[in-house]
């Protein structure tokens, strides 16, 4: 039988060459061993590194980038300057990576101390034992005090099963931006009901323009917003059961479907998809060319971050000596039937960023201290300055009341509308329940299917989706349910 050196083709090499090869192999093995040892030592040295400046390090994971990242670094710098006990180290990661890395770090026993999320996963993560409730870190009184100071929407986003399971640090509010100049030029009134808004689509259609072809196009991805607008919800908190097939949900999907019926499902989808192809995904409400005074739509449902886009647009136009159309914002008007029965502000959907506190973090009290600093519970003036710089909506009335913040709002009436909306109890987040992410995906998918096929019955589709959600909820592990019961009773 041939020996291994022969098999490897080395057998025919002279002895000197073999020795030289062996020597190389030894050197490489030694170098590799040194490298592994070095990496191992570096890993071991990490714990010491955390105490370099005698303060305890708080590790924050977040997904912010671009202009927001600068503001986040500013908050961290301000906190670190003000602190003698803790020092925050922020780590930015893309959204998709952040979640997978969190699971792996938690499974490995070394999660961050603080993490920022904007997906409806707080309840699931709490049930999994991945994150702590605030009253597990600070006293129940202090947790209650934090909760009381939040806007209703921020409190809802942070609470599950009667406990504060995170701290909301910013609200994302959607409202209806519109091109006021274009409306005035056409002699059209600002719509007060959803029917009037729909009617404006017909009027824009009669103009026969290639752009805008539609005054407004609702997207199925905001299905939850529309359910709330139609005066309903997708979760019954009394029975703790989903109700994706509630009358409001059926009515809202029928309204979405009506767009496809009137204008053609394919045309509506194609027009909407083309918004994404605008250079740099610019705000489709903005005119694209210098000689235009209107963009792809007259109305657009979007968040407060678009205020920055409007400001930049005005500035760019002014720099070129061009006039800019006037823009304004209103809450998305509800259907007339809802308006007649309800004298309150219209409903809608609100989202936000929430700080959560992974179990096993080295310094959860430090993480809470930073969260309180961020939202202005320890210094509302600093929080106001940061919120102005970031164009963020604060989560506490105290920060909104700050003189600097009020001055900023006075200078920007559009942004002021968003801040006023943020305090509305009519705004509902995605229900903070187990399976909320699945619920949201399922509702959006159903809305998209119904909107793309006018022959489908919204009621039947929603009933099927509700059954699917029920099955999903039943499939959740019993151990998690029993854990939930235990935690709820704590």
């Amino acid at each position: 039988m041939a020996s291994l050196p022969h098999l490897l083709g080395l057998g025919s090499l002279p002895h000197e060459r073999m020795n030289s090869l062996s020597s190389h192999l030894r050197n490489w093995t030694l170098a590799l061993s040194l490298l592994i040892a070095g990496v191992w030592l570096l890993r071991g040295g990490k714990v010491e590194q955390a105490k370099v400046d005698s303060r305890t390090e708080v590790v924050l994971w977040h997904f912010w980038g671009g202009a927001d990242l600068e503001v986040v670094r500013d908050v961290v710098a301000r906190f670190n300057t003000a602190q003698t006990e803790y020092r925050v180290r922020e780590i930015a990661m893309p959204g998709n990576n952040l979640r997978a890395k969190l699971f792996l770090s938690a499974a490995g026993g070394e999660p961050p101390d603080l993490i920022n999320i904007d997906d409806p996963v707080v309840a699931d993560w709490y049930e999994l034992g991945l994150v702590s409730s605030v009253d597990e870190i600070v006293s129940a009184e202090e947790a209650e005090k934090i909760s009381e100071q939040l806007f209703p929407a921020a409190r809802q986003l942070s609470s599950y099963s009667g406990k504060l399971v995170g701290i909301c640090n910013g609200l994302d509010v959607r409202a209806l931006y519109f091109n006021r100049s274009f409306l005035e030029q056409q002699g059209w009134a600002v719509p007060k009901t959803l029917e009037q808004l729909d009617q404006l689509n017909e009027q824009v259609g009669k103009l026969g323009l290639s752009q805008p072809r539609f005054a407004f196009l609702p997207t199925p991805r905001r299905a939850l917003f529309f359910v709330n607008l139609f005066g309903g919800t997708v979760w019954d908190f009394a029975s703790e059961r989903p109700q994706l097939d509630s009358p409001a949900a059926v009515a809202s999907l029928a309204w979405l479907q009506d767009y496809s019926r009137r204008y053609g499902a394919g045309d509506v989808a194609a027009y909407r998809q083309s918004d994404q192809s605008l250079p740099g995904k610019v705000f489709p409400l903005l005119p694209q060319a210098d000689d235009q005074q209107v963009g792809r739509y007259v109305f657009s449902l979007d968040g407060q971050w678009r205020v920055r886009d409007l400001q930049a647009f005005r500035k760019q136009r002014a720099a070129r000596g061009l006039s800019s159309p006037a823009f304004d914002v209103i809450p998305l008007p509800p259907p007339s039937s809802i308006l007649a029965n309800n004298s309150q502000e219209p409903g809608g959907w609100v989202n936000g960023n929430v700080f959560v506190f992974p179990r096993g973090g080295r310094t959860s009290p430090g993480a809470i201290a930073f969260a309180k600093f961020w939202i202005g519970l320890s210094n509302s003036q600093t929080a106001a300055e940061v919120a102005i710089a970031g164009g963020w909506i604060p989560v506490t009335p105290a920060v909104v009341s700050e003189a600097k913040y009020q001055a900023a709002l006075a200078a920007d009436p559009i942004f002021r509308q968003f801040v006023q909306l943020a305090s509305s109890p009519q705004l509902q987040p995605t229900p903070v329940v187990r399976g909320a992410g699945y619920l949201q995906r399922l509702l959006e998918s159903t809305a998209e299917r119904v909107a793309s096929d006018p022959s489908l019955s919204p009621e039947q589709e929603l009933k099927a989706a509700n059954r699917q959600l029920e099955d999903y909820l039943q499939s959740l592990s019993p151990s998690r349910t029993s854990t939930a019961g235990k935690r709820g009773g704590q």
């Binding site: 998918s445 699917q468 592990s477």
Partner: protein
């Protein structure tokens, strides 16, 4: 030294040399493969120990298959794309390879151009195709308009070309039927772009076909078409079988492009929710690793079954050359 002792020593040395691979195989393949079977009978959320759950994950899969939701929808979407894209890729690959096997002008350049897309990373290719398939200013619709065909809603329309809904619209004479192609068709088009991989293998196989067979066929009076049907195709059939098996496995496992084209959700309306994406969402979005493992095992059984079926039927259509 006895031959047995030498054999043992050499075997040990051989195993030692192979140990990096063996350890990798055991830890990264065999162990996950085995443990995932156990997890498929458990509730497991990655963070807490798995809890035995009997057949509940499989019953859920069965229920979803029955109702056409979740796994049922994902399986339908996967089968649709694989059943169309794999045969089309093979057909296009064989045709292109046959063409390039002739002495056409610029053959080297054409071969490079056809293979070039296969070298582009799938992420870059997906982003490119997102733009190419844009309904308003994408090049694909631009070309369709140029030859007088209506633009298509490639990645925005859940309805696909070969679907009962399209058939219903066609029977009703609805103008909507002009928008024939949907998101799955867009994905298939993108898959065909990477046909260069197939072409290279077919070209190699074509070069291996003995000239004497063509000469014998010519002497028997066979024209070019008959030579292609009765010589080239049978001689390519082992490679076609290989491409069919590999193509089905790759097609079922397609993830990156689907994830990017559907923004990680399987949208529009779940029409791009493939089995691999459903598995990913279950495991890493919903943290239902037990259910995801059950999906993986179903997928394994389906792939193993289809591969077995292909091999069983191959004796009827695959021609293996024998040396006489």
């Amino acid at each position: 030294m006895s031959s047995t002792g030498k054999f043992n020593r050499e075997t040990l040395a051989g195993l030692a040399f192979a140990s990096p691979w063996l350890v990798g195989f055991a830890l990264l393949f065999a162990w996950p493969f085995a443990i995932s079977l156990y997890w498929s009978f458990c509730h497991f959320d990655l963070l807490n120990p798995p809890q035995p759950a009997g057949l509940s994950n499989y019953l859920r899969l069965w229920n979803e298959l029955r109702t056409g939701q979740g796994f049922g929808l994902a399986l339908f979407n996967t089968i649709y794309t694989v059943l169309i894209s794999v045969p089309l890729s093979i057909l296009l690959g064989v045709v292109l390879a046959t063409w390039l096997s002739y002495d056409v002008p610029g053959r080297g350049l054409l071969r490079s151009l056809i293979y070039l897309p296969a070298m582009i990373p799938v992420v870059a290719a997906s982003v490119l195709w997102l733009w190419l398939l844009n309904p308003s200013d994408g090049w694909v619709n631009g070309m369709l308009s140029w030859i007088g065909l209506p633009p298509q809603n490639w990645l925005t329309q859940p309805r696909s070309a070969l679907s009962p809904e399209t058939a219903r619209l066609a029977i009703q004479g609805s103008p909507e039927v002009a928008k024939l192609f949907g998101s799955k068709d867009g994905l298939i088009l993108m898959t065909l772009w990477g046909v260069g991989n197939y072409v290279v293998i077919y070209l190699a196989a074509l070069g291996d076909v003995p000239k004497s067979l063509y000469e014998a066929a010519s002497l028997d009076g066979a024209n070019a078409w008959r030579r292609w049907c009765h010589v080239t195709l049978p001689m390519l059939s082992p490679v076609i079988l290989f491409q069919l098996v590999v193509g089905i496995i790759r097609g079922v496992q397609t993830f990156t492009s689907v994830y990017l084209l559907s923004e990680g959700t399987g949208q529009p309306a779940g029409s791009l929710l493939t089995v691999s994406l459903q598995l990913f969402l279950a495991a890493f979005e919903d943290l239902q690793v037990g259910y995801a493992s059950a999906i993986a095992w179903c997928l394994f059984v389906i792939l193993a079954g289809s591969t077995w079926l292909l091999f069983r039927t191959s004796s009827a259509w695959v021609h293996y050359r024998t040396n006489v």
